[in-house]
């Protein structure tokens, strides 16, 4: 298919890939976030998502601008710094049939919104929560964020004296049932993880290392493209398999192949490159992340998966109708009900 054919090609619901696009990006050329926005667009096209069934959410920061750059036909809310989780929780209670795609940054999630992030994960609001993690504050010109490595030096920010916060560990600690890490330079892995995350019925957290070309892309930085390309260590090869397709397992050395059933009937095929890694074992996931932290390994892949927890809407007893579309008769009891209740007083 040549380029012009590709532009005209449509997916299962008759939309072109362009129709899943948004406004032109105003982020820096080469910013990892642009690549991620492109992958979201691609995945939405591939999965033939109906744009009106998607709700885009973000906080404040470079990453939080990016929902304007994909899915222009979907509603979105660019909220407050660190407060996307609260807005997402409310919006996805108001209409729990929407597929939430939230984009945040390391400052937005790990600093100002740390509490909200952990509490939203704890409630298990059904949405994809994607962090575009670059270790610095871009819009305010390069201060360290909490995910920057201890001892890192930057021209503007100086020396970082404090240990890095591992957002995946935090997500696991808060009870998240889908925790992944990826690299903006690994487009295929980002896409496969996104597809699986969209199928998950709770909060699906993806921490994507997404280099900041303006302030934190020195080769020595662990958040740079060069470091990512040289050190990325996928713990598994990931392939998302749609509901209707058959799984074809082609075992290759050295890892075992696992098939993880997802909530919507699709599956994730994980070919483990580390033989003893079990992404369904919380303790070993935490242990592996702690070891990676100590040794400086850059692990990517689906780090932890537990589909057993109910999503918030389910926990609260919401059903077929959304609260936003609840008919008036269900919202306002009749006059007799008021009269009866007042008898109690």
């Amino acid at each position: 298919m040549d380029r012009s054919q590709a532009i005209r090609a449509t997916n299962a619901i008759g939309l072109t890939k362009t129709e899943y696009g948004g406004s032109p990006s105003t982020l820096c050329k080469g910013c990892g976030h642009n690549s991620i926005a492109n992958q979201i667009q691609q995945v939405a096209y591939d999965l033939a998502l109906r744009p009106h069934e998607v709700l885009k959410l973000s906080g404040i920061g470079c990453s939080s601008k990016s929902p304007a750059y994909f899915l222009g036909m979907s509603h979105g809310f660019n909220s407050l710094h660190g407060r996307m989780p609260a807005v997402a929780t409310g919006a996805l209670l108001g209409n729990h049939h929407l597929r939430g795609i939230g984009v945040s940054g390391d400052g937005d999630t790990g600093s100002i919104g740390f509490g909200q992030f952990k509490h939203m994960v704890r409630r298990n609001v059904r949405m994809v929560y994607l962090v575009e993690n670059n270790g610095v504050y871009g819009l305010t010109k390069g201060q360290f964020s909490v995910t920057a490595d201890e001892g890192q030096e930057l021209k503007y920010a100086g020396l970082n004296d404090f240990p890095a916060v591992d957002l995946c560990l935090e997500a696991i600690g808060a009870g998240c049932g889908f925790v992944a890490r990826s690299f903006a330079g690994n487009a295929k892995q980002v896409r496969e993880l996104l597809k699986a995350a969209l199928a998950h019925r709770g909060t699906a957290f993806i921490d994507v290392i997404s280099p900041c070309v303006a302030f934190n892309n020195e080769d020595s930085s662990r958040k740079s493209y060069a470091y990512g390309r040289d050190h990325e260590q996928a713990i598994q090869e990931i392939g998302w398999v749609p509901q209707q397709d058959e799984i074809v397992i082609e075992p290759t050395e050295p890892g075992e192949v696992r098939v993880v059933p997802l909530h919507d009937g699709s599956r994730l095929q994980l070919q483990h490159l580390e033989e003893d890694y079990d992404p369904t074992d919380r303790r070993s996931a935490v242990d592996r992340l702690l070891r990676a932290e100590a040794s400086g390994e850059f692990l990517t892949g689906l780090l932890y998966y537990d589909p057993s927890r109910r999503g918030l809407a389910e926990t609260l007893g919401l059903g077929a109708r959304t609260l936003a579309a609840m008919p008036d008769a269900r919202l306002r009891p009749p006059p007799e009900a008021l009269a009866d209740m007042l008898q109690r007083f």
């Binding site: 509490h119 609840m326 007083f345």
Partner: protein, 611 residues
């Protein structure tokens, strides 16, 4: 089972002339956490049951157990519900018994637990010592329950002293306990024992009495928080996000009580969601998110929570998202006086946000208005597409008030300007375009399937089509539209209640619960030939009626329960040309105003006018 108030035939009205009959104030002094609330509410409901107007005010500490607490019951044949200094005392707290006795006016009376041995001796008051331990001998209850039951000793003794029939007390207890005999009976046992002891041992030496009247038939006794919550249920509240804080917690408790009863699940599907948030930042964010999605969302909080909600409220004002925020005001900040009432959040809440924001603020003063604003706030929020505040206070929210049976909401739920996919197809869609000239655009809800039906909400600059913009002209145009919207808000919010007195040259503007002491003060003053008009604000921004009222009077006094004269400032800014006619009575000490206080404070303004 609970007896409905109508099942006992009302007593015939009795004309009352004796100043000590059906006109006194009773204060019950106990320690916090000793279970006296049931006893106090039983007493109050007994007087109410006898057809006599009542109001109860709990003056309590921020404490779970041990600190002193005072429950005031006003009994008023004239229907005055404001606070009044007490004539009658129940002294059951060893820590305060001396001070409580000293505070009684000459001619007062006190029921004192007999083991307290106060060091204060007064021959100008009547003291009855009640042997609680002896009275409790009829009960086999143990431990904490036995201590709680001890409070029924003063209920029984007062029933005899004041002339309250025991069947009335029993009915009141039954209402308190939701008709559960297992709870009513052991309490009633003590009430009867104390009553019998009083009959045998006490000689009535004080003049205070309650006789039946017919002034409470068909009225309710309810707290403002319960009434507001009930109104919200009938307003179609569907998302509640909140963080516990006194004095608003009981608002959400009431929602959690009412919602499952009044809106039970259909086929297992609920019509509401309640989330206890991690803080008020998140509570406000959830409410804004839910409002954006089209749900009817509410949070209830108090001053410290309002501080945290400033950020989201400012965003919601500019993103134009409906939300309902109840602020049950208390004295703050931090530890402040968290269990005392206040009108101190007015100015901050009115303009909450980081600048160039103004919100509709509803100002309820009664349980009827709490109920009405409970449902109406949702209609206003949806129609005006903005956060609506309801400023109650601790006195209204947590205390028990009489009120008329609530009127069922008028008309259907008013959802404001929302476009369906068909509407978008026909008319197109630009979120912030002012098509109707009222400053309010048409919105779509997420999930609208029209390909041009979506928009990206944000607080930062946007043009009429909700597209990000940092252009000055877009910003100015948007602000000009929001100014038109503010005018729509001003014309839409509930109008004030004006009570003109013939020949009055002085007017008083007040809001909320100060109305009761003010009404009583004005009656007193009128009896002395001093005429004062009044205007009670039911909402901000102020309507044209406020301006007219100020113009009609030589002097208008703005009465409010805060230190900085916040409403005075708002009105002076709203009518700068009339500001020289405004005066202020702004005072806050944590307890509601009395008529005497207002009467005294108004005198200089009247004297100046007469001079």
């Amino acid at each position: 089972m609970t007896l409905a108030p109508t099942e006992v035939p009302p007593e015939p009205p009795t004309p009352v002339f004796d100043p000590h009959v059906n006109d006194f104030s009773l204060v019950v002094a106990t320690a916090n956490g000793t279970g006296s609330q049931t006893a106090n509410l039983t007493l109050m409901r007994s007087f109410f049951r006898m057809g006599v107007p009542v109001n109860g005010k709990n003056v309590f500490p921020s404490n779970i157990q041990g600190l002193p607490t005072w429950f005031h019951i006003r009994v008023s044949k004239d229907g005055y519900l404001g606070r009044k200094e007490s004539d009658l005392l129940v002294a059951f707290n060893p820590a305060t018994v001396d001070a409580d006795l000293r505070a009684l006016p000459a001619g007062g009376a006190a029921v004192v637990r007999d083991d307290l041995h106060p060091s204060v001796a007064r021959d100008d008051i009547t003291v009855y010592a009640v042997p609680v331990k002896r009275i409790l001998e009829v009960s086999d209850a143990k431990g904490k329950v036995r201590d709680y039951l001890g409070n029924m000793a003063y209920v029984g003794a007062l029933a005899w002293l004041l002339g309250v029939p025991l069947e009335v007390v029993e009915h009141a207890l039954s209402v308190q306990f939701g008709g559960r005999r297992k709870l009513v009976d052991p309490n009633m046992l003590i009430v009867r024992a104390a009553h019998a002891w009083a009959v045998a041992n006490l000689e009535k030496r004080d003049p205070f009495r309650v006789v039946p009247m017919d002034l409470t038939r068909d009225l309710l006794l309810m707290t403002g928080n319960e009434a507001g919550a009930l109104g919200s249920v009938f307003g179609g509240v569907s998302v509640v996000a909140w963080y516990p804080i006194t004095p608003s917690t009981s608002f959400v408790d009431a929602l959690r009580d009412f919602l499952p009863q009044l809106r039970p699940p259909h086929d297992g599907e609920r019509s509401y969601a309640i989330v206890q948030a991690e803080d008020e930042l998140a509570a406000a964010g959830m409410v804004i998110g839910a409002g954006f999605a089209g749900a009817r969302a509410l949070t209830a909080t108090s001053g410290p929570g309002i501080s945290l909600m400033a950020e989201f409220t400012g965003l919601a004002y500019y993103a134009e998202v409906p939300a309902v925020i109840w602020d049950v005001q208390r004295v703050g900040p931090s530890t402040g006086m968290p269990t005392r009432t206040s009108q101190g959040d007015l100015a901050f809440t009115y303009t909450l946000g980081h600048g160039d924001t103004a919100h509709p603020v509803l100002l309820p003063s009664s349980i009827e208005e709490c109920f009405e604003f409970g449902w109406r706030a949702f209609d206003l929020a949806d129609e005006l597409q903005t956060p609506v505040f309801v400023l109650s206070d601790l006195d209204l929210g947590m205390n028990t008030w009489m009120g008329e049976r609530f009127a069922y909401p008028e008309g259907p739920l008013r959802r404001g300007k929302v476009l369906s996919a068909e509407d978008v197809e026909e008319r197109g869609f630009a979120r912030y375009a002012d098509l109707d000239g009222d400053g309010i655009g048409w919105r779509t809800l997420p999930g609208n399937p029209h390909p041009r039906g979506a928009y990206f909400a944000r607080g930062t600059g946007h043009n009429a089509a909700a597209v990000y913009s940092e252009r000055s002209d877009d910003w100015v145009e948007n602000m000009e539209r929001l100014a038109r919207k503010r005018e729509t808000v001003r014309l839409t919010v509930p109008a004030p209640v004006v009570d003109r007195r013939p020949g009055a040259r002085v007017g008083v503007i007040a809001f909320g619960t100060t109305r009761y002491a003010l009404a009583e003060a004005r009656d007193r003053m009128a009896a002395r030939g001093q005429q004062v008009s009044s205007l009670r604000l039911k909402a901000l921004p102020p309507s044209d009626a406020v301006r007219a009222f100020i113009e009609e009077h030589d002097v208008t006094v703005v009465l409010e329960m805060n230190h900085d004269a916040q409403l005075f400032g708002i009105l002076a800014a709203a009518c700068p040309d009339l500001a020289p006619r405004l005066r202020s009575i702004a005072y806050l000490d944590g307890v509601p105003f009395t008529a005497g206080f207002i009467d005294d404070r108004l005198q200089p303004f009247l004297a100046a006018e007469e001079a």
